[in-house]
Amino acid sequence: MLKQCEGSHAVAEAVALSRPEVICAYPISPQTHIVEGLGEMVKKGDIKDCEYINVESEFAAMSVAIGSSAAGARTYTATASQGLLFMVEAVYNASGLGLPIVMTVANRAIGAPINIWNDHSDSMSQRDCGWIQIFAETNQEAADLHIQAFKLAEELSLPVMVCMDGFILTHAYERVDMPTQEQVDAFLPPYSPRQILDPAAPVSIGAMVGPEAFSEVRYLAHAKQMQALELIPKISAQFKEIFGRDSGGLVRPYMLEDAETVVIALGSVLGTIKDTIDEMRADGISIGVLGINSFRPFPVSAIRRSLSHAKRIIVLEKSLAVGIGGIVATDVRMALDGLDKRIYTVVAGLGGRNITRSSLHRVFRLAMHDQLEALHFLDLEWSIVNKELDRERTTRRSGPIAENILRDLGQAKSNVG
């Protein structure tokens, strides 16, 4: 049924339709509306036979999820930013144990300085944690991906992180076609665990493994993610059969076939990029975009195939590997190993900075004329950066960087005004 609702609400409903059995809730913006919605649904009885637990931290949220998943319950939680970092030890543990927990990450920057707005630093920091990471472009897809995530997680016995842009999606009202319970039930069978804490058949889970077998255990974690590369498109196809729309998959091409210049990005910014590309195409420019839906596993072959005709690639990412540059870009480079293509990294939208069509037009055109530097920071205020660098050169006790910059910005503004 079509409805106009908040992204968080759509996700909460999709999770509810997936018949979760244990939900762990801890507040952190911008994820909070999702677990609030679920709490209400459990209390009202809209979600039956489900334990909703208000835990004391994100670390506890993931730990409770580990316990309930190991005891055979379909388990869900959600977090963002600092919360994801606070639960990291348990995040690795959940994947190491092979527990099919589904977690929403409402993508948000990581401090310091503290920042509640959107970028992808949080989930990117966990790219090697062993979870499958899939990114939603719209609220429709965010809702759909959660239903797919339970199926994917449970078939592989691996946890899945559904990443959606904080605020930009979680707090946006837009049209969502909510599936029916019958559709979801037809798509998603009840959870049948591969391992379970059952007094009738006792097993030890999580005991120590020494050098004699640890590599093999880790390899199998990798092998499962490689299986996911095949399973993700299959699940997406099954989803289309039942729900009648494209959602998920590994990569999402747009105007790609003949594109000399290809932009690569993840998440909701793909929409703004597509609008920009339509405008550039109208000007006769050969440009397209490849959305990456599955970041872990990273679809190396699909990306390589999709980019075979491209001359240059612009990886636009909302994350920064300090000390080297792009995170997505590094993986894309690996996927294109040995091919003769120029690859530009554009770091954009950090801490919620708006990514506008006008800025995208500018960098895409610079790249097309091969005038873009290899690592570009979109809309960076160089004057402010240089002023701080200068201050640090000349003053030992130069003070907190963030405060200095904000003071400089204030000054700059009052000078203009």
Binding site: F167, I168, H171, Y173, T272, N354, I355
Partner: protein, 192 residues
């Protein structure tokens, strides 16, 4: 695509207003996208929310920088921030105030726009009268429906019922209806 920017202060239902506008448009079969400016919203602090309305899927995620319409829920913002930034000469403005544009010192400024598209309405008073609290967002939507002709008053009422129920919903519908009628009358007066 029609783009609306709503300015107000924390506690005035700015974000809810944008959401209701998107629901009203959705109910008329349009695509709509509403989103806030994502601040740490504190009561009294300036808040901005956006709404896009179109006949096809809306993919754009940037903030509304060149609005087709402005809904200004708190006139005290005029002295603080450039609420009119990006508004075209054909744009619409609905301003919540008990004063006239002349009294506000905006008469000259308003002449840049089409007279029947710049309308004041005392939305705060209307919400106090019908709902019993300062919630100008809903009457502003009623006035916006009249001024823009983009959505019907019925759709605004349906959106209100989507968000509220019982007496609160009925009060808000009454406030929106009165604001709609006031705005209609002022548009006709401006035309005349």
């Amino acid at each position: 695509m029609f783009q609306v920017r709503i300015h107000g202060r924390g506690g005035q239902g700015v974000v809810t207003g944008a959401e209701m506008l998107s629901i009203a448009a959705f109910l008329e079969g349009r695509h709509a996208q509403a989103f806030p400016s994502f601040g740490s919203e504190r009561t009294g602090a300036p808040v901005v929310a956006f709404c896009r309305i179109a006949d096809k899927e809306i993919r754009l995620r940037e903030p509304v920088m060149e609005p087709d319409a402005l809904i200004i829920q708190d006139a005290t913002l005029l002295a603080q921030i450039d609420v009119f930034a990006g508004l075209s000469e054909n744009g619409y403005v609905v301003l919540n105030t008990n004063h006239t544009l002349e009294e506000m010192g905006l008469a000259e400024f308003a002449q840049r726009f089409r007279a029947e598209r710049v309308i004041t309405v005392s939305a705060t008073d209307l919400s106090l009268k019908h709902v019993g609290r300062n919630a100008p967002n809903v009457p502003m939507l009623g006035a916006f429906a009249a001024v823009s002709g983009l959505i019907s008053l019925d759709s605004v009422a349906a959106a209100i019922r989507d968000k509220f129920s019982g007496k609160v919903a009925e009060g808000n519908i009454a406030a929106a209806t009165e604001a709609y009628n006031i705005a209609k009358a002022r548009m006709e007066a401006a035309h005349a």
